[in-house]
Amino acid sequence: MTEGSLVSARLLVFRVGTLACAADVDQVREILPRLPTTRIPGAPPVVAGLVNVRGTLVTVVEGWRALGLPPLSPTPSPDAGVIGSTIILELGKGEEPGNGGGGGGGGGGEAGKLIGFTVDEVVDMLASGETTLEDRKGLPGVDPTLVRAVGRRNGELFIVLDVAALLGPILPS
């Protein structure tokens, strides 16, 4: 993976717990509010369940669990309304899956698979050139195999997630 391919990408920046993360916009299909999920018996705890995205069934992954973070507020206050968002990502499109961690998933060739990823807040969209990415593998407390690069926005560091390495292993190939 070259630095050049990272800099040219537009990034969607979001927050999971206290961690600022980003994903390649080309892999983001859409951003939705949190949707009611249906539990999938037998699936690992990282899977929040199945949601209905206008007639298509999408498996949703709990963001903080996938990143190994502690839960922020276990029970959001009812007055706050729906907390957080679900980002619908398309796997097997854009970048090749990472070669570390769980061995990556998906792989090129086939049509992209959709998978949801819950975040606490969508922060910003960065156009190409607005940020400089460092090919640094991660921040303390984050599994380095899930990190493609580290960027900086308003002085705050964020990690660019290797979406395929993070979510690919959850779905069957």
């Binding site: 999938i40 018996p41 209905n52 959709l114 998978i115 959850i170 779905l171």
Partner: protein, 643 residues
Amino acid sequence: MDLSQYAELFLAESREHLSACNQLLLEWERNRASPEPVSGLFRAVHTIKGMAATMGYGRVADLAHRMENLLDHLRRSGRAPADEIIQLLFRATDALEKAVGLAVAGREREADLSVLTDIDHAAIQTKPAPQPSALARHFAPEPAEDQSLPAASVASGASAARIIDVVIRSEAPLKGGRAMLAVRKLQTLGKVERVQPSVAVFESDDFDGRFVCELATAAAPAAIEAAVRSVGDVERVTVTGGAAADEVQVNPAESVAGGGRTRHIRVDLRRLDTLMDLIGELVTERGRLNEVAARWVGQDPEIDEVAIQISRLSADLQNEIIQARMTPVWQVFDRFPRLVRDVALQLDKQVSFRVEGKEIELDREILDALGDPLVHLLRNAVDHGIESPAERKRHKKNPEGEIVLAAVRERSSVAISISDDGRGIDRVKILEKAKREGIVGPHVESLSDDQLLRVLARPGFSTAEAVTSVSGRGVGIDVAMTRIRALGGSVEIRTEPGKGTAFVLRLPVTLAIVRALIAAVGQERYALPLTYVAETVEFGTVPLTTMEGRDAIVLRDRVVPLVDLRKLLGTNGGAPAPPPRRPVIVLEMGERRAGIVVDGMLSQQEIVVKGFDAPHGTLPVFSGATIMGDGVPALILDAAGLV
């Protein structure tokens, strides 16, 4: 002209003709003296040749042309063909089928045309006594030959041409000019060759207004005639040869009328899939509308009326689209006679193969997925089921074994059975082997049909004494069963020593929309298709027992093992305590039964079956999911995974 958009159509149509070729060859093989098969074969191959030439698939066209040549010789000789010829034609048909597939994939160069030498060789050997060519005969002095051209001689020339015979009215002025114009018009439809008399003669005073030419074209006879008639003062046009019929005398008044008969169009299956998805969403939204209407009906009763109308319309629409996806099973079954014949030949068995219920319809998607499992089971039947002719004679059976493939419509499913009158499965041998491999305990004394199937369906389990190239590699029944179950179907086996074996596959008629029970388990909802629901009883009202260590109920003297969904699905957390009288849904798949214990029954409704990418670890008891009226998904339980 870019023809790529026609490639799929070419493939589909060629496959139909090739399938017809196989059927005709089988018929010819059985009845060598019959004159019909060769004519049909000739037409089918000729049509493929014409289409391939239009598409620019030179190798396909060449192969078809040479087959056609051989068939023409055979047709004209009128003699029963030798066995080698029939076998050669089978091989040639296979080669043509492969070449067609490769051509459409853009890899025509890879087509194996080694069969051509044999075809040409056979064509020379079967060539009848020399006869004048079509055109020569047309202009032969005998007036009888002049009147109508025997179809058999049409294709003896090198080209796939239709022969056009044009007569300009004798009283018309400028007959030569008209004829010239007619030739030009024909040139817009294809390549015009062998114009007789030659165009130069058209200008002479002696030209009587009649000419004949060959036209290589894909255009229909009616179109050809219309083109010629458009020049005016045409007394008669006769189009002979070509794909559609041996001889077509086209009358414009007839050719215009197409009404009265059912008309068909080809539709891309993906279109139908999309349509089905949209209908699915409509059905989902209809459910929501009904819920809203129920809430508001107090304020305005009209909303109820509208909701009912919308429900009715969407139900009709749904029905129509399901019908449009239905395909008769012969579309897949028609290739099996050839398969069974080939396998039988390879194994020196004598088999008569019969297909019943060809017209029974299934959803296209199910039918397509059914092909491979049926191939496995049919190969198995020939290889393991049917005995050798000598062995059959020893057992006082007809040396020719029988295999029947039958489709029968049942309640809301279709049963497809593959039965043979062979030796049956040796339970003792299977039991021994199962014990040796530790599949069943050493104390087991006999296997029921059901247990037998479970043993046979274990991956890698094979009873074949010697592994043949046909089957017996230990793949087959397990693959077939997995596929059938993935389609929401079930497999049953019946076997009797010395009498034969039957596999019965039960499949839902359609995958897309099914009626289902919506059951509550804790706070969750699950859908259970009604296809395999036999009845529901209340826990506590029927006697309890155990069966192989599992809880079970006794229902009309039969022990039905229970599956508690709360336990199976790991329902936990804030789920309320189960009600005292939990409903038990009894599922029935062939001989197998299971009672599914749930917390409550919410409704019975039509659901749209959708697939989802099940995460790793998902329990293997779901066949998909559906979207409920409130927009939230509910998982669909797979009966085959539960019983």
